[in-house]
């Protein structure tokens, strides 16, 4: 080979240094722009506390966030937009109940109320990071999960709107939309009469002592009736 030792050393030095200089310049610029891209003005002390909780329980070795970490459980980048505050809280506090039907489990870590609150704040902040529309499953170009839920219920009945409003999709599925934590709710007509179902919605344990569904004190008796008639209308 005609290549001399001297040219080889030059290739080594020029190659390394040019790449290094470019990389360092862009690093400085990235620091500047990240403030805007991550909405650093919203990076409160609570968000930082939430990040500490995220690290304390090593959440990141099962879940990915920004696509990095373990691939064993869903990505957390847009979790706030996907399931909202209540959805996150329920899973953190009672994973063994919410994921009872799932064939993959989440450990019960006995988080304190403050820890849960801080984590939710952290996830909310993360969901606002400009990730160039990643991940695709939560892309802005797709109808968001809340819109999909609206489409699944709206116009059917006032009970449908309440069903969405009260967050029932966080555990239940109708027409393939919603979550698997609780049973899908098609075909309940054969199982319950309207009075029992309305009672079940507000105080599940009163109807079925084995039920893992939480009580719903914020659902008024008249709301429960509306939801019942919506559910029984689904064949």
């Amino acid at each position: 080979m005609a290549l001399s030792r001297k040219s080889a050393i030059w290739i080594c030095l020029v190659g390394t240094l040019s790449s290094l200089v470019l990389f360092l310049i862009l690093t400085v610029d990235t620091h500047r722009q990240v403030k805007v891209l991550t909405k650093a003005q919203n990076l409160s002390e609570e968000v930082v506390q939430g990040k500490r909780v995220w690290q304390k329980y090593n959440c990141n070795d099962c879940h990915t966030i920004l696509g990095f970490g373990g691939y064993y459980a869903p990505d957390m980048t847009k979790v706030y937009k996907r399931i909202g505050t209540v959805g996150i809280q329920e899973r953190l506090k009672k994973p063994e109940v919410v994921l009872a039907r799932s064939w993959r489990k989440m450990p019960q870590q006995n988080l304190g109320d403050d820890e849960v609150k801080h984590l939710v704040t952290f996830f909310k902040w993360v969901s606002e990071i400009d990730t160039h529309d990643w991940p695709p499953q939560d892309s802005n170009k797709l109808p968001s999960s809340s819109i999909r839920r609206m489409i699944a219920t709206v116009g059917i009945s006032p009970g449908g709107a309440l069903f969405k409003e009260k967050g029932c999709f966080g555990c239940h599925k109708i027409g393939g939309i919603g979550s698997d934590a609780g049973p899908a709710l098609e075909g309940l007509g054969g199982k319950y009469n309207p009075e029992t179902l309305a009672r079940y919605i507000r105080t599940p344990a009163a109807v079925n002592p084995k039920s893992t569904m939480p009580q719903q004190p914020e659902v008024s008796p008249s709301d429960a009736e509306q939801i019942t008639s919506f559910l029984l209308g689904i064949k």
Partner: protein
């Protein structure tokens, strides 16, 4: 063995092999987690996250122990002098081994800083830093006292210093998640596509020179070019991790262009190795070392080069990022680029350290081919699962678990590939610890030297 102090390498190699076995066992456990439903009570005390932290930290630890042992083994030969302090070398070994044990046991009790691959808590980080500084001191002093500078020594020392400096970026707590991951990649990416490539390229060049007898001038000239290309593509190529983490959009261009070039230095390494093998001045006596050398560069090209290239372009990475495609690439790349390099060094050095210039190679050959084929199948099963995930979850919009259900079969396949891999590993590790002396018949065969392909 010409130098007595080369012996310090042996415990490093030995512990590395034991940790390798443990790493594979934990890997099998992780695979079970992926396709079997485990009882809640078990998940509460030994979650996937803990096992994963152990699996990945064992990998890093055994590879680093291998590099350190390799450095101690080649250093006396390169400098024509003994190691500056063998006592220090043994002391660092004990400290690092204890740190490793403390870290693994700590993980079981949740003592963890919660950053993937860099989980070990800050207190232990500091011990690692002190250990690394002492190691660098020992290596540098050996070189300085000998005053026989070579490109191999220079590359090795530069790579080790670079490795240690980068580790520091993983220690602090960063308030901003985006910045946290930005510097996390300074450790992970710049290790595997920078510092580690420098260290292994230097070690590889030395072994190649020893077994082929090709002149130092030629080997070192290509070492310079390879390092230049590795760092040119690798440093700015870090950008391929910055596509979706909240950094400016120009990283899509920088990362895409530079990382598309990343297979080039590996390709050069393959061509270079094949040319040295062809132009060898020495007969092939220890075929297994040759097998690992040639097999290693090809697997490096496959796992790191081609598999990495396959999903490095932003248009593709948008759908594959953070999926099982990454897992497939990770396994093939680490095995091809670093595990095989270390095993080559172990096969070169360990029998010699036990006083055997040659040893029977049947078992070693079986181990090699079992590991290589099992790892290839493992990479394929993860890869198929990953393509399914990218299509179902990211293109069609299936829920996470609905997509995982369709991938479940491939995790079971991965488990059985892993079992095969374990067999290969056990045979290899046993063979390295207890090499069989050559019988007359085998040595006759070995004399018929030919290139391994």
């Amino acid at each position: 063995m010409e130098f007595k102090s080369q012996k310090v390498a042996y415990p490093y190699f030995g512990l590395a092999l034991l940790l390798f076995v443990l790493q594979v066992l934990l890997g099998l456990w992780l695979a079970i987690n992926y396709f079997v439903t485990l009882p809640q009570g078990l998940v509460d005390v030994f979650p996937f996250s803990t096992a994963r932290a152990m699996h990945t930290n064992l990998l890093v630890l055994w590879l680093l122990l291998g590099f350190m042992g390799g450095t101690y083994y080649l250093l006396p030969d390169e400098t024509k002098s003994e190691i500056y302090s063998t006592k220090l070398a043994y002391l660092i070994f004990v400290v690092l081994a204890l740190t490793g044990v403390a870290a693994l046991v700590g993980f079981l009790f949740g003592w963890n800083q919660g950053k993937p691959l860099l989980e070990i808590p800050t207190a232990l980080d500091l011990v690692v830093v002190v250990g690394a500084l002492l190691f660098l001191f020992n290596v540098a002093m050996t070189m300085i006292k000998a005053k026989r500078w070579t490109a191999i020594q220079g590359t090795l020392l530069a790579g080790l210093v670079f490795l240690a400096v980068l580790y520091l970026f993983g220690i602090p707590f960063y308030r901003n998640l985006t910045i946290d991951w930005y510097y996390w990649w300074w450790v992970i990416h710049l290790w595997v596509e920078g510092a580690w490539e420098m260290i292994t390229a230097a070690i590889f060049a030395w072994v190649l020179m020893k077994i082929t007898g090709v002149e130092r001038g030629v080997v070192e000239k290509w070492l310079y070019v390879e390092i230049g290309l590795f760092l040119f593509t690798g440093i700015a190529g870090t950008g391929h991790h910055y596509y979706w983490l909240g950094a400016p959009r120009y990283w899509l261009w920088i990362g895409g262009i530079f990382s598309a070039l990343e297979p080039l230095p590996i390709l050069l390494m393959v061509i270079d190795t094949m040319r040295h093998v062809k132009e060898r001045k020495l007969p092939i006596t220890r075929r297994l070392v040759w097998t690992y050398a040639v097999g290693g560069v090809f697997f490096h090209l496959l796992g790191a080069g081609l598999w990495g290239f396959a999903h490095t372009l932003p248009q593709i990475n948008y759908y594959t990022h953070g999926s099982q495609v990454t897992v497939s690439h990770g396994h093939l790349a680490f095995f091809g680029a670093y595990a095989m390099l270390n095993l080559m060094v172990f096969y070169y050095a360990m029998p010699k350290l036990r006083g055997l210039e040659e040893h029977a190679e049947g078992r070693g050959k079986f181990g090699f081919w079992t590991m290589v084929s099992a790892m290839f199948c493992l990479g394929l099963s993860f890869g198929i699962a990953g393509v399914l995930q990218a299509y179902l979850e990211r293109v069609l919009g299936f829920g996470y678990m609905a997509a995982q259900e369709q991938m479940r079969l491939w995790f079971a396949v991965a488990f059985f590939c892993g079992l095969g891999f374990l067999v290969g590993v056990l045979v290899t590790v046993y063979d390295l610890f207890f090499p069989k002396p050559v019988t007359e018949k085998v040595s006759g065969k070995a004399a018929v030297a030919r290139v391994v392909s």
